[in-house]
Chain length 330, copies 2
Amino acid sequence: MRLILVAGTTATAGIDGISAAGADADLLQHTPGADAELLAYGDVVRAPEVPMSPTGCPTPALVTRAAREVVGFDVVTVDGGLRVPTGAPTVTVGARPGDDIREQDPVPSAPGSFVAARQYGRKLPNEEFVVGETVPGGTTTALGVLRALGEDWAVSSSLPENPQKLKEEVVAEGLDASGLSPGDAAGDPKMAVRRMGDPVLAVVAGLTVGALESGTRVVLGGGTQMLAAAALVRHAGIEAPLSLATTSYVVDSVPDFREAAATFDLGLTVTDPGFDAVDHAGLASYADGVAKEGAGMGGALALAAREGLVDEVTGATLDLLDRLGTGNGP
Amino acid sequence: MRLILVAGTTATAGIDGISAAGADADLLQHTPGADAELLAYGDVVRAPEVPMSPTGCPTPALVTRAAREVVGFDVVTVDGGLRVPTGAPTVTVGARPGDDIREQDPVPSAPGSFVAARQYGRKLPNEEFVVGETVPGGTTTALGVLRALGEDWAVSSSLPENPQKLKEEVVAEGLDASGLSPGDAAGDPKMAVRRMGDPVLAVVAGLTVGALESGTRVVLGGGTQMLAAAALVRHAGIEAPLSLATTSYVVDSVPDFREAAATFDLGLTVTDPGFDAVDHAGLASYADGVAKEGAGMGGALALAAREGLVDEVTGATLDLLDRLGTGNGP
């Protein structure tokens, strides 16, 4: 079994109040590479620190890493537009850092990297894999993609109070800048992600399309960003079975998440790692709606759940936090 | 446990009669990336085919992959100057493809990538790792480095008849072009590898120096190229314990290999995977001195030997050859 993490950036994350995927704006740039390093090595190697939200909630990559240690799956990171070099090994598909979606053409690398990722997805010899993402600001670009495709579903947030209104404003500005009305990119996923998305979504969608075309099963491991990826896949005309695995924290907080998954014909797996009961303030804040999901966490938990090992993953996450000296949170 | 494969190129491999690490000169360019893909996925993904010598001997990367499947260690590939993009995930340390050592300055990226690899080696959280290499033409550049450092040891070959005289001529020309006499780079490993080596050796040496400095144990997994890497480490003034793990095919064919290893104060592990007795002509040709070693094979076998699993690796190698449709050789 393999988990593929697509790691990248969008300048959309720099908009004040959009993302909690890092303690401050500077550290936010390092979050995707740090997440990839955690999955590869169990610690950061080049990144300055283990990503934490401003309130001390540790990155979901720790949960994915803990699941890897418990379940034993392989991890590959694909560069989905990293801005700073990472010490994690990465596969290159030509993705470049994404610009703010309020620009006219924020992701010019999207069509090329979609094609390269599709090619790569076709050739992967696994029978099944999980895809995850790490891209601060990614729920806003997911919203942009959904609207460009004419899909009305809501998106999640790494913040406990989802800045939904701010996101809708950013997306409206982005559509304006791109000369698009909602739905104008229906059936044209490459345009949707190029004009209103981020480089990670382009790669996730391409990878998934390629894999499904070659008969490989794909589990989208994540929340509403993976819903947007699924929308891109369906708008590419791919009708093959596809599933999505996420956390209870996403499903409990995003209105109509189950209905949205059903609309895109996704088999849905929801896992609750029980962080509300742990003796670690940072990790427990997942249950209060901080972070919720990311870096393949929901997918990794689903792999653990298949083998009845979810509690072991929660234990291993606490051990990993201890090992990394991120103690008991703030 | 982790095995780090450093994969790169030197134009030295293009000299007629130097290397058997590919069926022809064009395919030779793809060999390091193909080896990395085999280790990561068990099959090629972007590379055109599984590397074979002109006589149909399969790449040692298959043995390393088989050992990975049996023993279960992690693999990371570091880009040591690849010329064509690989589908394997790679860590970047700034290495660029090496030029022919008969040029004046064939590896200008060597000092920078040595430093970046050292930094990376220092930060790796493993207590121990194995380093392997894949660089066609690499025994000739290893000879160049040994001579530049003033070391008189012989090098191996992927060909059954080692073109030792040709290699010595190439190295003599290279020293001339660089304005060096044998031994002029003693104590200056960065100069030795920049003027007479290849980008892979620079990265292997940097990685090893960094790891040893931070108390991580390192096993150099390979033949005479790893002897050259050890020479670079010792000429960098590093006296920490260091070991080398190779195959019986190297030790049986390279004069004074054990003495050379002792000179550099290397703990030596030699493993015989028993390919002379297998029912696969290509694999059996290892025992006739084809390929002999590479892509971390000796190091991977040593990890298997620690757990008494060498026969299982040989069996898994045959299974892998079957799975890849490379049947019973030519």
